[in-house]
Symmetry: C2
Subunit: 313 residues, 2 copies
């Protein structure tokens, strides 16, 4: 495996792409290109959580896919000492939409530019995000062929197309989220307020902005197949957010898969010890999303393997 951290802009040490490139071998891929999964950790656009970075990349690498972790633009500048609990008052233009989504576009172009060098199948790159990272991936999945990305990069939209999107406890509809009365503890309420200022620049964005950042309201045939999962007990990003996204896909007869586990709070990541900060984030039921996504991915991203081993050919 080749691990390298690439700074995506010369003047931005905070925005990085870390590669987890699997070795080629005459016993396995024999020089053939592998599909890839590009991971966006969550963290309320305030930081990028380590719990949703390397552990996720390694789990996809263990499935046979090249994996990448993108640390996109966040309010905290991805500084290791950023305190996610401290309230945010002043917006920072570096974290306001669409910067993080454009970071994802640049990461996608970087993968496609290195397809030959990395033995990477440029037509089979899936996105995988969690919480705010899932929102970033979902926004990208509805926007990849639009001027906000195409004109910005000046490329053929096909170069920006993702093959699939995997969204864990994501945000799908900000209009609905801001309209819902929810009982949040003081920590969660502060986090949500800070996240709004980080992403929108204001605590209470206008309706047009909320609509613009609601992927569930922008679903069309250009959207790639989606795999959604969450828990019914999530009080920070309610499961309604995944449900309305699934509803929008289902109404348009677009391929999707959805798993809502009953138990489990927000931010379970893999729901196993590898991604846990405590035993409260281990849940064998919710952890089944990984097996489910492994099966789902092989329907469209499976490695191109011969029928029989080479020593029997």
């Amino acid at each position: 495996m080749k691990i390298r951290t690439i700074q995506l802009y010369p003047d931005r040490p905070d925005v990085t792409l870390t590669t987890y490139l699997l070795d080629d071998s005459r016993e396995t891929t024999q020089g053939k290109k592998r599909p890839a999964v590009l991971v966006c950790p969550g963290g309320g656009y305030l930081f990028c959580s380590d719990r949703e970075g390397e552990p996720i990349a390694l789990r996809f690498a263990a499935m046979g896919y090249h994996a990448f972790v993108l640390r996109y633009s966040t309010y905290g500048g991805n500084r290791p000492d950023f305190d996610m609990g401290s309230p945010v008052e002043t917006p920072d233009p570096r974290s306001i939409f669409p910067t993080s989504m454009r970071d994802l576009g640049l990461a996608m172009l970087t993968l496609k530019d290195h397809a030959d060098e990395w033995l990477l199948d440029a037509d089979r790159i899936a996105l995988c995000g969690f919480s705010a990272g899932a929102h970033n991936c979902a926004m990208y999945a509805v926007s990849w062929n639009r001027p906000v990305l195409v004109d910005h990069f000046g490329v053929d939209p096909e170069r920006l197309r993702p093959a699939a999107a995997i969204l864990g406890y994501g945000l799908g509809d900000y209009v609905r989220l801001h309209g819902e009365a929810r009982a949040l503890d003081p920590f969660a309420a502060r986090l949500q307020r800070s996240a709004s200022i980080a992403l929108f620049g204001v605590e209470e964005p206008d309706d047009a902005t909320l609509e613009q950042l609601s992927p569930a309201r922008q679903i069309g045939p250009h959207v790639p197949p989606m795999f959604l999962w969450t828990t019914s007990e999530d009080s920070l990003v309610p499961s309604t957010q995944s449900l309305v996204l699934a509803l929008a896909l289902a109404e348009r007869n677009l391929p999707y898969e959805l798993h809502v586990f009953e138990k489990g709070s927000h931010g379970l990541s893999l729901a196993v010890q590898a991604s846990a900060s405590s035993r409260a984030e281990i849940d064998p039921d919710a952890a089944k999303w990984v097996e489910l996504v492994e099966s789902w991915l092989t329907k469209r991203l499976a490695l191109d393997l011969p029928e029989k081993p080479f020593w029997m050919a």
Copy 2:
């Protein structure tokens, strides 16, 4: 993750230890030491199979364990161009027992020497081998406190003790294997003959040598807990080899777990696409050994996690 390949002897580029060291984070391990899994690929003591190296290490890394791949002494000197199908006639002292087992001892000491630097729990290192690599691990598991290792390294035997051994389609009893009539195809018969010359130095070793290299005949209370798995259809290393090893453990009331899947040929590794050279080596039933070993490992190697996340403390 930190990946580095370490040459274990100054004059032996063929014997290497590759590290897959997980990142520490204030969100996960918070400076605490992780247990580790040390992987020995199979390959009939002729080579070390890539299919049982990196894919295995990454799967254990995805469980939250530091992982290592040992390329131990083999007849082919781990040269990438070695043809495993070409018959072996002349023995090479570098692959004859106990060199490969001592390589494993040196790897174990290397892990324990770097425990502080690598944030590695020296008391919780599991071995994991496949086929010939499983035989190497099993021989080590019965020999770690004996002169062949202790006097050779001149260390306190406790420094060599493994915490557990995971053995996939391994060789447990050479006396029995050589006594059993088996219908092998010409390729398999040549492989077995070559493997004998590589490990014993001769095609037909005497009874004392066969006994000496049969871990099932040397089980005692010093042997660590074992997890065994194989398939009933394995014609190269029959499932009887795992059964007699389990029998020896059961008769002494030692902790072990055994899973024999009905279907599947020799050498399935993870039995998923990540370790396959062809679709013939993918088997969703046999692949369940990985989930089973994940549960089994958490009984003795679980990460030391607090009850609640630090932001709720």
